[in-house]
Amino acid sequence: MTSALFYDRLQFAVTVIFHYLFPQLTMGLALLIFYLKSRAYWTHDAHYDQAGHFWTKIFALSFAFGVATGIPMEFQFGMNWAKFSTFAGGVIGQTLAMEGIFAFFLESTFLGVLLFGKKKFGPFIHWMAALMLLLGSWLSGLFVIATNAWMQHPVSYTIDHDGAVHVTSLWGLLTNPWLFWQFSHVMTAAVATGSFVMAAVGAYYLLSGIHLDSAKTFVRTGVVAGAGASLLLLFPTGHHEALQVFEHQPIKGAAFEGHFYTEAGADLVLLGQPNMDTLTIDNPLVAPQMLSFIIHKHFGAEIKGLTDFPREQWPDTMPLLYYAYHMMVGLGTIFLSLMLTALVLLWRGHLFQARWMLWALMLIAPFPYIATTAGWMTAELGRQPWLVYGLFRTAEGNSPLVGSGNVLFSLLGFLGLYLFLGLLFLFLFFEIISRGPAALSGTRSISEPMS
């Protein structure tokens, strides 16, 4: 397991997982900040202005790390995956270039206005900058997911005499049926991350008895948005993503459910460990016939099992895929029950006194990151052994002349650098939290050398 291909895959996994920790917070917060800034702008309520200002600091911190770790993603397509880029550039070059032109410029330019331009441009432009950041960061997500959706479910392409693919309809590429549910699901997850983090910071302040006014706003906003997002994650977005997997990628579906043998009335595996020798689930806890019901709305429906497909078409890390999927779904279920309970408490007026719930809201904050990462692992591990589903194998995609020693060199470099960046981010994040919203208003900080 020391081939260049193995290190190429590991490096892409490491860099993309680390990178996506940051955009999921910024895309989610962009929406919440826009809400806070809008309330501040239309009601002239200084309290919301202060809240928006505080979260802009966290947003800017996460954005800086997201941009810094995002550039390697585009570069790696060419650096590590040259054969894939040659094969697929005629299609995915479109969406990746669109991300640069329509999203990156917008985000980066208006972040400058949001951080430095309050005095120079006035409150309306400042509010508009928040809107542009929301638009830019979500467009960025749209184009990346359009690229991924094409790799999951290739549409609108022809294959030329060299064997490379070319786009036949840009409109078809941007209306890929796979894209709609995947984008909805991923963006809802980003809103969940943003809301959970906002609620957690508010809960921390309430439990500590500091910044109480801001804390209540954070918890209220976080719980309402978080409950909505948790609901939408499960249904309809998650449910429809699963349906399209079973329709177009039945091997992936069978693998992540741990469903080995074709049967009518298939059970839903809730817990257990896949045994790759006996092709069964060890220590199974199942919901009888539920898998058939969820996918086909009929308890007796037949679901194809993994063993119906040739083994070389199975995802090559099937147990990891299975665990990733079960972690995502399990955490999603916990999120929904927790947030709905918090919402009821909020509605009844008890939430700010319910210390046990505030503790739970505070401690749950890292878990949306884990669930989102597990979700992406489900999508990407499940796509194996294909780089472009059904068209192009991962094993054929890496750069032919970049040897394993050179990839290991860069992998180790990224591991070291990202360990440093991760610690640095946490340090700065907790530092902003500990300074609190009141201390920040009217002064300056992160990304803002002076104003």
């Binding site: 585009e74 040659t86 070059g93 330019t109 331009g117």
Partner: protein
Amino acid sequence: MSIDILWFVIVVTMFAVYAVLDGFNLGTGMVYLFVARTDLERRVVMKAIGPVWKGNEVWLVAGGGVLFLAFPKAFAAGFSGFYLALNMVLWVLIMRGLSIALRSHFPNSLWRDFWDTVFASSSVLLAMVLGAAVGNIIRGVPLAGDGYFFVPLWTTFMPGPTPGILDWFTVLMGLLTVAILAVHGANYLMIKTDAVIHSRASRIAVAGGWVVVLLTLVLMSTLPFVQPVLRHTYDTYPLGSILPMLSVTALAGALYFRRVGKETAVFFSWALFILGGLGSVAWGLFPNLLIATEDPTHSLTIYNTAASPYGLQVGLVWFSIGITMVIAYTTWVYLGFRGKVDRSSIEGNYE
């Protein structure tokens, strides 16, 4: 003009605009420790680039995206071939971005000294590597018949059939780039600052200007030997000589405007000098994107790497719309932040 040529012009323009816009950020970084000694002075310099540097850097990423769209095979070959150098570019880009974002986060002097040093050294390194990259593209790379290559960081330090990323020619290109961008940054700071920072930047710009003239002359004289294709192209299509003439005129103009003290004119002449220089290189290499050092039939041109005609056409439609919007709001933001950095809002506002 065929659509492949149009996309060649677009790709070159994207990278050239990057060189001019992020160039003054890099140059600012290079001269940073010399023009700004106290913390207050450093915050003034940081504020001079603060609102715009991130947007400037996007031209590099967007340029990469546009190259991928239009000439995917060249993107794949180039990025995998320069694997080692590009990884280091990435690490340096990451550290530089964070240094600008984080240096003023704490009033602690060790914290600020650390990020100031990171900012200055990463700016020098990045300019050096980007210059060497242009040198590699001029000199050519050992492309094989399948359209791929891989260059180590160095071999014998001589440009030849099996060169490394660093040889005497590409190192000289790197040094020239460092000198050009240091002056570019100093020119920018002269517009954006006053008093002591202004006078220090002015001294660097004047001295650096002559270093640039000297290095340019040296490199120009070596070009016909390092890459005969350039000479050949200019002989065949002499119309392109406008570009090097424009570049040299802009350089002379910058030296003249400096003498008469027209700072804005100096800045724009210098920018034109950079654009003209990169344009000259592009004209000389056309239609090649990467020239093979061993067998010229292995060279990657715009014709054997282009995406499909439909992809290029539909790309042109959305690109025209997108880039027009980018230019509009970027110009608007630059106008909004124009003028010298306001010191009064910095003094006494220490976290």
